[in-house]
Each structure stands twice: as C-alpha cells, then as structure tokens.
C-alpha cells in the first residue's frame, strides 16, 4: 500500500487495524485514535482521496490503495496546507486531539465541494467530535480553508 506517497508492505497479521498499523508499525502518530468504533472521527484518513475511518478498516484491506494521513498534508518546514493554515488562523483547534481527523475530513469535503455551503460544511464535520472549541471556530475555519484553497 502507498502511504503519503511511499510504498509500504502490509502487516503480517490481518487483525491489525489500519489506524494501529499507521501509528505502531509506520510511526505515523498524527492519526489519532479516540473511540475505536467509528464515532469520534479522530482517526479519519483519506483512502484513494476519500475520507474514511482508519479504525474501521483492516490494514490489509488498504493493500493496492493509497492512504493519506495528516503527515502528508505538508512536509516538515514547508508552508502549511491551506486547510491547516485556515484552522491556525481561525483557531479551529484548542487541545488538538481531534484536529487530524477534522483536517482530513475537510480535505475530503473540499475535494468534492470546493466552495461548500454552510449545510455541506456541517454535514461533512458532523462525524467529528471536538470537546474544546464548540465548533463555531471550526466552521469558520472550513469556509476560510475553501477561500485559501481557491486562491
């Protein structure tokens, strides 16, 4: 499977969840794990460009596919990805635990709807839980991300 552009062998044990494979085998700890049953959205990654829950997939199922994680959004030292930049500007995060999942969900949303309506934004982030910010600043960040991505 390809993760952030580089090829990796799948894990030997088919029981390995994609989320655990990314974190424990590949050291990509940016993908967070919260509820581990698909409710919180922290572990959201892109599978062939579409946001999916990495805790609800076996890593072996990603073989032959392309996985993108939060680490793939911007290289170390490079300018932030427009979605990251927008969350930074609008203070769309506080403790940051849920943020990787939000970022990946929003990258997926903007790929499908580059100029989303407020309803589309709410629908897209409804599956991500944040317990600090209260969502208002996150919503603002998503619209700002659409602006920045359009430039």
């Amino acid at each position: 499977m390809k993760v952030n552009g580089s090829l990796h062998a799948p894990p030997l044990d088919p029981r390995r969840l994609l989320s655990d494979h990314l974190r424990h085998d590949l050291g990509l700890t940016g993908t967070h794990v919260g509820c581990e049953h698909g409710v919180c959205g922290c572990c959201t990654v892109l599978l062939d460009g579409e946001p999916v829950r990495s805790c609800l997939m076996l890593a072996v199922q990603a073989e032959g596919h392309e996985v993108s994680t939060v680490e793939g959004l911007a290289a170390a030292g490079a300018p932030l990805h427009p979605v990251q930049q927008a969350f930074h500007e609008c203070q769309g995060l506080q403790c940051g635990f849920c943020t990787p999942g939000f970022l990946m969900s929003v990258v997926g949303l903007l790929a499908q709807h580059p100029d989303p309506t407020p309803e589309q934004v709410e629908e897209a982030i409804a599956g991500n839980l944040c317990r600090c910010t209260g969502y208002a600043s996150i919503r603002r960040a998503v619209h700002r991300a659409a602006e920045l991505s359009g430039k």
């Binding site: 029981r15 997939m57 969900s105 629908e123 409804a126």
Partner: protein, 250 residues
Amino acid sequence: MKPPRFEYHAPSTVEEACELLGSLEDAKVLAGGQSLIPLLNFRLAQPAHLVDINRLPGLDAIYERDGGVAVQALARQAAVEDSEVAAHVCPLLTAAVRLVAHRVIRNRGTVCGSIAHADPASELPAVLLALGGHVIGRSARGDRIIDAGDLFKGVFETALAADELLVEAWFPASSGAFAIVEESRRHGDFALAGAVRASGRLALFGVAPTPVLADPANPGRGLQPSGDLEATPEFRLHLVRVLTERVFAA
C-alpha cells in the same frame, strides 16, 4: 490486537467467495465493515473466518431494473446517496441513505451490508420492507430471490443461508408520496425509533427485533418495544405515534 483471531480470506471472484462461504464453518462476510469491525474490536463478534468481498470486481453497480433501482453488494452508501438513478427512480432510498451515520462512514459502508446486518434500528431494512423490495442471495446452489417480508428474522438475523452472499438489493420505485423520519439523540446516531412511508404503506424501525409493517391508523398496535438507557418502551410507543403522523403529513 483489538479484533479476535480469525482467518482472513480475500476472494477475487464471486464464485470463489460463494465457495468459501459454502465450505467454511463460522464465516462472516466483510463488506464495508462499518458495523462488523466495531463488533470485532469489542469482541462482540468472534467469527472463525472473515470473507472480505471488497476485491470482487464488477459488484458495485447501481442501476434501473424492473421499474426499481438495484444496488449491488459493493455499492457504497455514499455512491447511492449521489446516484442520479437512485434519486430519479427511488428518492425515498436517497433520503434514507442520508440518515445513515455520517458521510465518512457512508464512504465505506454499503447498502447491502446494512440490510444483511439487519440491525433493528437501521433505516435501510425498513425502507426495503416499506417498498416491498427484495434481495438476491447467491450461493454455489444458484441465485435465490428473498422478498423483504421474508428476509428479517430477528435481531441481526436474516433468512440468508450461511453459504449465501447478498449480491443485490432491489428497491421498487417510490412513485407515490414518501417520507422517512427518525428520532435520535444526536445527528447520525442510531434511531430510538423511526417511520418510513411508501404511499399508503408504513414500516417502523427501532421498536421491534426487526423492522415491521404497521397500520397507519393504529401504528403501535401489537408493538412491545424494548427499553434502554436512552428511551423507555412507553417513550418509543409515543415516538411511533408522533413519527407516523409526521410521515403521513409530509
């Protein structure tokens, strides 16, 4: 490892998948996995074998058939949500799919998987029942059509045999008035109770071990919904009355 031990199989043809289901003891089909993987993570399900059908080719079509819309086993809920054929032929299905969890879950979850999983609180089995649709079960013995009315047998139980793969669900056109409403604690959660109207037919979900057809004039008759931390049986019966009024006012 969170999931229990299982042997993993990834067949590359439908025939091979059916052979595996016919020969393996205690096998579960893995489609979208949005219900099965959590059950594995919690070890509520401990199948000896997983037959992953995600690598089967040409099994993700959504197409018009016999005046309805047919949805194949690997058509993701998100694809059905965006399908023009589904929206044109069976807008009730489109409306119902939007109530299933969240978009990120729907990117992976399948319509046929929701039906085969047969969660009593799930929307899509109730929609299939309200419309009088059917599913096709395929095995080495051949194809078998199972009407929605004969499909749902109990909590997470269907009439599909152990060697049968649900390859297609068929939803008749929602030609008359239709509506689906549900009540849940949070957006995207499982419904405490829900109602589907297809013309004069009413199906309820979340209030019995399976989705049930009900009399619109007296929808609560004969129902004995269970109670849990989120809703008492009385509250569920109240919801049945209110939701039925709403779908018939729509």
